[in-house]
Amino acid sequence: MIAEGAVEAGCRFFAGYPITPASGIYKFMIDKLPRRGDVAISSPDEISALAFCVGASLRGFKSMTATSGPGFSLMTETLQYAVMTETPVVVALVQRLGPSTGGATQGGQGDVLFVGHSIAGGYTIPVFSPSTPLEAYELTIHAFNVAEKLRTPVVLLADKEVAMTSENVDYERLCKTEMIDRKYFSQKDGTFKTYSFSSGNEVPDFACLGGMERVTATGSAHDKAGRLQKNSPETIEVLKHLQEKIDSHAEEIARVEIDLGEGADILVLSYGVSARTSREAVSSLRKDGKKVSFLNVKTLFPIPKISLIDAASEVKRVVVVEENMTGLYRSQIKSLFADKEVVGVNGVGRMIGPDEIQVAAAVENQRVRR
């Protein structure tokens, strides 16, 4: 569904390198894109895969690659380059059990902070996490839209369970989403500079390599014209702008599914595969007469703070469910719930079961479970 969403979003260039559990996306694109006259190509490694995509995007075409944790490690260099050069590109990262090669066919949600903090300097790249095939489809289109609109790399953080489980999908439930393309520079707007903006949160108009405007793209610190500079005021302004343009659109790109329970004093918060289990647990808890709210965080970064705080405003306890050892996302959002008890339900190398969530939600003064 990620691959179908990508095609629908107008992806015209895919570079792939085989890796379980992301190879299905690669295969789909190889079968689909060339027949449409588009490019799907095998790259010799993951570094090349993302570099090809960045090159193709700079030439003016929506691009995507797909990988898992070990491949993403190799891509971080080029991901940072995409941030610095303000290049729209989508990376689908289908998580497996880590660290290192970990477990190729085992699920996990252990790459959350690795992805969320993958850019030196603390820059935020948008990260979206689907839990169902329908969400995978919609969030992939959203990922392309955000990448295009904000000229940024975007990571679609799926996991083995979501990507490799076959299930029936009701296509009639697919939302029709608007497709957004990057804004191109128009000569009536004045003189072209590769990275021109007037206020920091603005996204520079795009011109492609090979077009009439002279593009000067660089991964080194630069001024608005793309000239290499060290510590000039304009360069610092550009460096700040790279974060400001993301921050200022945080609420706009936030996607959360909120299912508030009337009078609820507990909020079960999750994402990805664990959100599916959480939903089941919440529905059982409600059947037992418990008052519970449910939050499926589909935009992990930038953290949708307002939505999270709002959803938890009435509850006493927040239960954060995720398939990693220490509660990676919980560590990022805990400070938003200062006056509440925040507990984690975590698992490593296995899917978390609904029972564990029900226990964590029900027991008073529950300690953090590992």
Binding site: S43, T165, G210, V215, T216, G219
Partner: protein, 448 residues
């Protein structure tokens, strides 16, 4: 190639009054001027030229040019980025862009894979390798291109490793155009022009000396640059010029021009047409041996379930080597939307081979069962100790090993009234081996 626009053409592609940021006598200046002369010679439209630069002193080259596009990249990756630009340009756009890559000997080694890959693909790039035998910008450390006995900051007693011969290496990757020159060659710009015009991968290695670091402690001089390999003199000039390969973009378009015209039958969706007997979530585990149609049979169960108006999920497991050992599917069926796809306690377990039995034992599936669990086990296997009811059937003998999983599934569905017979018949009809499958379903339902 596009004719030059007379109003934009100034006789040089370099910035007016350009000042080279290089040390006195550095070959980088000669090579960069040669690239400029080559562009002038080819009468290219500057907006159709993209110079992709790498890291190091060579990374400053692109900024010396005017009106052309430039892409300053990360160390060694210049070729990979330019490959992406060129693939998109040649296949998705009008293929008018000329991509020139400038890279140093350090970048050539860290990005060796990208050069080999681009040569193998025959991507239409012209790579100019500024080879001064060391890392100049970082303090004169030795590179993989440093000559034997070369004294550098990091080989103070002389380099004990002979240098790599990139051109020979790229010949192994079937590179189209390869040349080796020195920075002071009068005809360097002609060779670079030929490389840019060449329709495919072209690389010109240009030998030069770093005036800051190479001349200290080394007797090698600019006129002896070809003698850096022990026991042989490096060949200079155009070494390879192939005329028999299409560049990648053209080859890709040619191949898919024919494929595009084929009508592709998209798989039909399945609309529910039958009812089902599912009450609560029904969790089914099917275990057997790879290659014996376990997972494809489980998928038929999923399709039959959807055809009967149920929701279904399927997860498969097998050893990483794919074609050997156990093969296992976990199927969940429900009237409600399925969120949690895990199976703590299965309602049905079907085991059709020794591999499957061993795997289920190691996953402790038999311990997880309860009184309501139905086990359908091939009669050739030992019956495990477990709760629930166990049915031993000659599935392999009667329906062949590759029919056993499907037979077990149909039998379980019949016994527990999960899905109607018609759903299996409909799905079986759509398969390549429909005759065998229909016969299996028929026999299972005919049994008392």
């Amino acid at each position: 190639m596009t004719e030059v626009d007379g109003t934009r053409y100034r006789g040089t592609f370099l910035k007016a009054g350009v000042r080279f940021p290089y040390c006195k006598g550095c070959g980088h200046q000669h090579i960069t001027r040669a690239i400029d002369n080559a562009l002038v010679k080819l009468q290219l439209d500057p907006s159709h030229v993209n110079i992709t630069s790498d890291i190091g002193c060579v990374g400053l080259v692109d900024a010396l040019f005017d009106n052309v596009h430039s892409l300053h990249t990360t160390h060694g990756r210049s070729t990979a980025f330019a490959t992406g630009v060129e693939l998109a340009d040649s296949i998705l756009a009008d293929s008018a862009l000329k991509n020139v890559v400038v890279i140093g000997d350090g970048g050539a080694m860290i990005g060796l894979l990208h050069l080999v890959n681009a040569a193998q693909l025959n991507v239409d790039l012209a790579v100019v390798l500024y080879d001064n035998f060391l890392f100049g910008m970082t303090g004169g450390q030795n590179s993989s291109f440093s000559p034997l006995d070369f004294v550098t900051a990091t080989t103070p007693y002389g380099n004990i490793i002979p240098p790599i011969d990139l051109i020979t290496l790229l010949q192994g990757a079937n590179a189209g155009f390869l040349a080796r020159k020195t920075a002071t060659d009068a005809d360097l710009s002609d060779t670079i022009a030929e490389a840019i015009a060449y329709p495919g991968f072209a690389l010109v290695e240009v030998l030069e000396l770093c005036t800051e670091y190479a001349t200290r402690g080394n007797s090698i001089r600019g006129n002896k640059l070809a003698e850096v390999m022990p026991g042989k003199i490096l060949e200079l000039g155009v070494i390879s010029r192939k005329g028999d390969r299409l560049d990648f973009g053209s080859a890709y378009k040619k191949r898919f021009e024919t494929v595009k015209k084929e009508v592709v039958q998209e798989p039909d969706g399945i609309a529910p047409r039958y009812g089902n007997g599912i009450v609560d979530k029904t969790r089914i585990i099917i275990a057997g041996t790879a290659g014996e149609r376990v997972q494809s049979s489980a998928y038929m169960l999923v399709e039959a379930a959807v055809l009967s108006g149920a929701n279904a999920t399927q997860k498969n497991d097998n050893p990483v080597t794919q074609g050997t050992g156990f093969s296992l599917s976990e199927v969940v069926l429900s009237r409600e939307e399925i969120f949690y796809t895990g199976i703590e306690t299965p309602e049905v377990v079907i085991v059709v081979s020794e591999d499957g039995l061993t795997e289920l034992n190691s996953q402790r599936v038999f311990q997880s069962a309860n009184e309501k669990t139905l086990f359908i086990i091939d009669e050739s296997l030992q019956t495990p100790v477990c709760k629930g009811s166990v049915l031993r059937e000659p599935l392999r003998k009667r329906f062949t090993p590759s029919g056993a999983a499907f037979a077990g599934i149909v039998l379980a569905s019949k016994m527990r009234d999960i899905l109607p017979k018609e759903a299996f018949i409909d799905i079986a009809r759509r398969q390549k081996r429909s005759k065998d499958l229909l016969s299996i379903a028929g026999q299972v339902y005919a049994d008392k």
